[in-house]
Amino acid sequence: MKKLLFTTAIFLIFWLALIDHSFAQKSIKFGQFTPTSSASPPPAGNNIECTIGLAEEVITRYRNANLLTAMENSQRQFLACDVYTYIGGCNGPSFVECSKGCYSYRGSQAQSVLTNPQVAPQISDFYDINSTLFQSYWIYTKAVGRFGLRNGFGLTTAGKDEMAATLQAMTCAERVGQLEHHIETPLYFYPLEKTALDVTLPDQSTVHLEALPDGTFNIQNQTYSSLAYNLKKTTYTPPEKGRIIDGSNLKQELQKIADELHLKTTEKSDFLSYWQQSLPQSPFYFVSLFPESEALKLTGWHIKPPPDSEIRYLFYFKPLTKKPTLNYSYHFTPIPRSGFTVLDWGGTIDW
């Protein structure tokens, strides 16, 4: 009996160790878990690419609305008024009138404050800080200036150097909010007959849907034409060869690519509207397709039952200000569709 109890006790201990991971992990004597060393900071990185992308998108919107010059001027003006007030230029009983004169529409003091000898050099300093963090646009300079004044950095050289160093060390998310590169890509399903599918996406979630031969599918009695998801990784090796397209003729250029790849009507329509909306305004673009192996790594979806053809057209767009000369020609070659086909035409913008 004692032996039986002893063996059962050994058995129970092993059982507990297996079902309760925390128990196992804390039990160093079992040798199943080694505590890690204390937290260490990751190596320094480069955030410049994120700020340039953000600046370009905001600038494009203001430019398209014909507000860019006016916005730059007014931001410069507001910063000048802030600095002028900060250095005591608007103190005393006349504060309210002085403030109105600077900040208001066509205020009487506005222009003179900009050229005030105590204010002008400060504006230049903030402009210089701004240009190391973003592209050189005044609509960001006001933000940097206000950040500095609110947090007590002041107008000394040491204060501004510290502020610049602080902002430079920030992540994209901390410095400019959560404006990320939008990498959304759609999936289209073409079974030969009505088929229930399990689509596992890169984040390991699974969508259950009923796909129809006409390319539509149903989820909970709602009909859709494409399933959007996010790409698995955001790091990649840019393709080396591609085509230069004219930004002033974007719609026609995209149509040509869609036709070369034999995209169906819905796919083509979605493709045109998505990229026309998502691409930042640019005179030219370098456009290419990722090789099949890279596309497979970036997309990372799985479908059950597996399709006969899995087509991944993963685009790479890079906005360009000048048209480079290429000594080759690039073709968008369609992948044949056969049997039950799934198509993915997503992509990324390198900006």
């Binding site: 039986l4 063996t7 058995f11 092993f14 297996l18 079902i19 890690t36 937290a39 900071p41 190596p43 990185g45 955030n47 953000l54 919107r61 609305a65 006016a70 916005m71 001027n73 007014s74 003006q77 507001f78 008024c81 802030d82 007030t85 005591g88 608007c90 309210v96 403030s99 900040y103 208001s104 529409y105 506005a110 609509i139 933000a143 940097v144 206000r146 004044l149 609110r150 947090n151 007590g152 510290e162 160093a165 602080t166 060390a169 920030m170 992540t171 994209c172 998310a173 400019v176 909010g177 959560q178 990320e180 590169h181 939008h182 959304e184 984040d203 390991q204 979630s205 859709y224 955001t234």
Partner: protein, 438 residues
């Protein structure tokens, strides 16, 4: 081999020899358990990916089946032009809870911030903006005739930073700071009765400091104003959370570094939720190599989510990750029993990558996947039975504000259905500000 172990093995052999059937049965049971456990362990490993917050394979829809149809109105403003070359104008719009029936309801011909709807045609805003966007007055705006009436003037020598209407809309809690100054001077929190203008009380007055307090929200459940604080001397925000009664009694709720970001209040005013930092984490963003504390570790690494019951004082840890996952963008569901939050991964190159939105059940502390799509999106409010997501546009006002007095300017707004993971675009595109959903 140790003697004891040898003896034990001998005994075990003898036992097995003498009790063969029992030994076979026990071994069979043991193997069966191993098989069952290994299957369940594999499943959870596929889901977790070293992530203590478990997204499951099923998306979850918050249980709103018992709630009546949403009668909320979405209030937003468009084309807010802060441009000294043309007269400033703010266009006011409303839409129903589904983002339909968009109507322009009025125009404010002035620079304005902190626009808040009181009733369907009545708004308040801070006007006569100046230094650091502080204002000289609070106006009531009647959108039926675009008429603005000054209802409060900043105290002499002060400018208005922000304000809160009390839930009955009969009073304002106003935050003022010494005019034209950022780090020297005074800060005041004032109670102003709107029905009796002479009924004005200074609830709190203090010198500008490393813990300058400002009102976040008012809880009808506790009848107290909740104050966050910031430093005017480069020590950053979230320097301590306090309560302030309408009689001026000040008490501490959370000391500095006990929370990472500004808390949010549940709709019934009974709970706050906030992120916080466990320094025992294995992966973190270090404080930058500068003397100031603006981006100190406890602010950069919100790896916990907590909820505090304001009526009992009890705090619960709802989620924690010590492997480089941080949380932000908290939003209470209307019933106050669940939270939406976003997860981000700290990367090796000192950036962060948004991963997903999760739905957290406060009573069970379990998280389930709410939305896979995080690119550029943040969740703003609750409308029409769904969460309201948006993509940020111009970020200028956010970067410069100490107390978040301005709402972010949005590029696109979506209603989100977690059951289908479908985002439906609503309202209009570009440069709108979401003022309220109520």
């Amino acid at each position: 081999m140790p003697e004891k172990l040898t003896q034990y093995l001998k005994r075990l052999k003898a036992f097995v020899r003498n009790h063969q059937k029992l030994s076979i049965a026990l071994t069979g049971l043991f193997l069966l358990l191993l098989i069952i456990l290994s299957k369940s362990t594999n499943t959870s490993n596929n889901l977790t990916n070293q992530n203590n917050n478990l997204p499951t394979t099923n998306t979850t829809s918050p249980n709103t089946s018992q709630t009546p149809p949403d009668q909320n109105t979405i209030y937003f403003a468009k084309n807010i032009i802060k441009n000294l070359d043309i007269p400033p104008t703010v266009e006011l719009y409303t839409a129903d809870a589904q983002g339909n029936n968009i109507k322009q309801v009025g125009k404010i011909h002035a620079q304005a911030k902190n626009i808040k709807p009181l009733a369907i045609n009545t708004y308040l805003y801070i006007g006569d903006l100046g230094f650091l966007d502080r204002g000289a007055a609070i106006y009531r705006f009647d959108s039926t005739n675009n008429a603005a009436t000054k209802i409060y003037t900043a105290s002499s020598g002060y400018q208005i930073e922000s304000y809160l209407p009390t839930p009955n809309h009969q009073s304002l809690i106003i935050w003022e700071e010494t005019q034209g100054n950022a780090s020297l001077g005074q800060s005041r929190i004032i109670y102003q009765d709107l029905t009796t203008p002479t009924n004005k009380k200074i609830l709190l007055e203090e010198p500008l400091s490393d813990q300058t307090k400002y009102p976040l929200f008012y809880s009808d459940a506790t009848k107290k104003i909740y104050l966050d604080s910031y430093s005017v001397n480069r020590k950053g925000k979230n320097r301590g959370l306090f309560t302030l009664s309408l009689l001026g009694a000040l008490n501490s709720v959370l000391p500095v570094n006990d929370y990472s970001t500004q808390p949010i209040l549940s709709k019934d005013g009974r709970r706050i939720a906030y992120t916080s930092y466990n320094p025992d984490t294995r992966v973190k963003l270090p404080a930058p190599p500068v003397p100031n504390e603006i981006f100190r570790e406890s602010v950069r690494n919100p790896n916990q989510i907590k909820v505090l019951d304001l009526t009992t004082g009890q705090t619960s840890l709802l989620a924690e990750n010590l492997n480089g996952l941080i949380f932000d963008n908290l939003l209470f569901l209307p019933d106050g029993n669940s939270l939406i939050y976003r997860t981000l991964q700290i990367e090796a190159n000192r950036t962060t990558t948004p991963l997903s939105y999760q739905l957290l059940d406060i009573s069970t502390k379990k998280s389930t996947l709410y939305s896979r799509n995080t690119n550029g999106l943040f969740v703003t409010a609750w409308s029409g039975g769904s969460s309201l997501f948006a993509v940020r546009s111009d970020l200028i006002d956010n970067l410069g504000s100490a107390a978040g007095g301005n709402s972010p300017i949005l590029k696109s707004t979506y209603l989100f259905d977690p059951a289908t993971q479908i985002f439906t675009k609503i309202l209009v595109d570009d440069n709108i500000q979401l003022i309220a959903v109520q």
